[in-house]
Amino acid sequence: MDPVAAKFIGAGLASLGMGLAAIGVGTIFGNFLSGALRNPSAADGQFPRAFIGAALAEGLGIFAFVVALVLLFVV
C-alpha cells in the first residue's frame, strides 16, 4: 500500500477512538442526570465526581486524537 494512503487511513481509524470516548462521556453524564433527577438534593455533592469521570473518559479520546494528529502532521 502507498505509505501516504496508509497514513491517512490510520489517522481515520484513530479518530474512531474519539467517537467511542464520546459514548463513555455520554454514559457518565446520562447516568449522572438520571440519578440527579431521582434525588436532586444529592446531585450538587456528586457534581465534581461526574466531572472527574468524564475527564478521565475524555482523556482516552484525546489520546486517539493526538495519535491521529501525529500521523497527519508529524510522521
Binding site: 465534581p48 466531572f51 472527574i52 475527564a55 478521565l56 475524555e58 482523556g59 484525546i62 486524537f65
Partner: protein, 254 residues
C-alpha cells in the same frame, strides 16, 4: 495563512521568536508564547490585585470576580481534600487562574493559546506530580507507597494490582498534560477549519457557493461559544484533578 491553495490549520500554533537571545548556544529567545504568558500573568495579577485592593463590603464587579474565583477554588478543594487540603490553596489557585486565563485569552482573534503547546501543559503536569511525590514521601515516608497497594485484595492478585496501580500513577502526568493540550488544539483547529471553509467558498466564484458561505460562519460562531465552555471546563478539570492527586499525597492510606 493560505499555503498552497488551502488553509493551514496548524500554522496558528507556530512559535516565532520576537527577540532573539542565544547566550552560549542555548536558545532563550523571547517568543510569542513567552509574550502571551506574560500577558496572561499581567491580566490575572491585575484582576486579583485590583479586585482585592478595594475591600468594600458590597463588592464591585472586579472585586466580586476575584471573590468568586477564590470561593470557587476553595469550595472545590475542601470538597475533594477536606479542610487540611487548603494548605495547597496558593498552588492550585495559581494553576487554575493561569490555565483559565490562557484558555480564555487564546480565544481572542489573533491571539496565541499558551496551553495549546504541549511543553507548557507538560511542565504544569510534571510540576503537579513532582509536588505530589515529594510531599507524599516527605510527609508519610514509605507509607506513601501504600498508595500502590489496595486493601482487601487476595494475595495472588496483589502483584498484578500493584503493577496496574503503578502504571496508572505513572500515566497521570501524561493524561493530565495531554487532556488540556488536546482539547485546546482540537478546538482551535476546528475553528480554523470552519473559518477556512468560508474563505474557500467565497473565493471560489460560483454563485451557489456564495449562498451557502454563511453556514460555516454560523457554525464557527456556535463553535466559539462551545470553546468558551471548554476553556472554563478544562481549567476546572485541571484544577480538580490536581486536587485529586494532591489528596493522594495528603491521605495515602486506602
Amino acid at each position: 495563512m493560505a499555503a498552497g491553495g488551502g488553509i493551514d490549520p496548524i500554522h496558528q500554533f507556530h512559535i516565532a521568536p520576537i527577540v532573539e537571545l542565544k547566550p552560549f548556544g542555548i536558545d532563550l529567545s523571547f517568543t510569542n508564547t513567552s509574550l502571551w504568558m506574560v500577558i496572561v500573568l499581567a491580566v490575572v495579577s491585575a484582576i486579583m490585585v485590583y479586585g482585592s485592593s478595594q475591600r468594600s463590603v458590597v463588592p464591585g464587579r472586579l472585586q466580586s470576580l476575584a471573590e468568586m474565583a477564590y470561593e470557587f477554588v476553595a469550595a472545590t478543594m475542601t470538597g475533594v481534600m477536606g479542610k487540611d487540603g487548603l494548605k495547597f490553596f496558593p498552588f492550585v489557585f495559581s494553576l487554575f487562574m493561569f490555565v483559565l486565563a490562557s484558555n480564555l485569552l487564546g480565544l481572542l482573534p489573533g491571539s496565541f493559546t499558551v496551553t495549546s503547546q504541549i511543553i507548557v501543559t507538560a511542565a504544569l503536569a510534571v510540576l503537579v506530580i513532582s509536588i505530589v511525590v515529594i510531599y507524599g514521601i516527605v510527609k508519610h515516608g514509605t507509607h506513601f507507597f501504600g498508595l500502590f497497594v489496595p486493601s482487601g485484595v487476595p494475595g495472588w492478585l496483589l502483584p498484578f494490582m500493584v503493577l496496574i496501580e503503578a502504571v496508572s500513577f505513572l500515566s497521570r502526568p501524561v493524561s493530565l498534560s495531554l487532556r488540556l493540550f488536546g482539547n485546546m488544539l482540537a478546538g482551535h483547529i476546528a475553528l480554523k477549519v470552519f473559518g477556512g471553509f468560508v474563505v474557500v467558498l467565497l473565493g471560489s466564484g460560483a454563485v451557489f457557493n456564495y449562498a451557502i458561505a454563511p453556514l460555516p460562519l454560523l457554525l464557527a460562531v456556535a463553535l466559539t461559544a462551545l470553546e468558551v465552555l471548554v476553556a472554563v471546563l478544562q481549567a476546572y478539570v485541571f484544577a480538580i484533578l490536581t486536587c485529586v492527586y494532591l489528596n493522594d499525597a495528603l491521605h495515602p492510606g486506602h
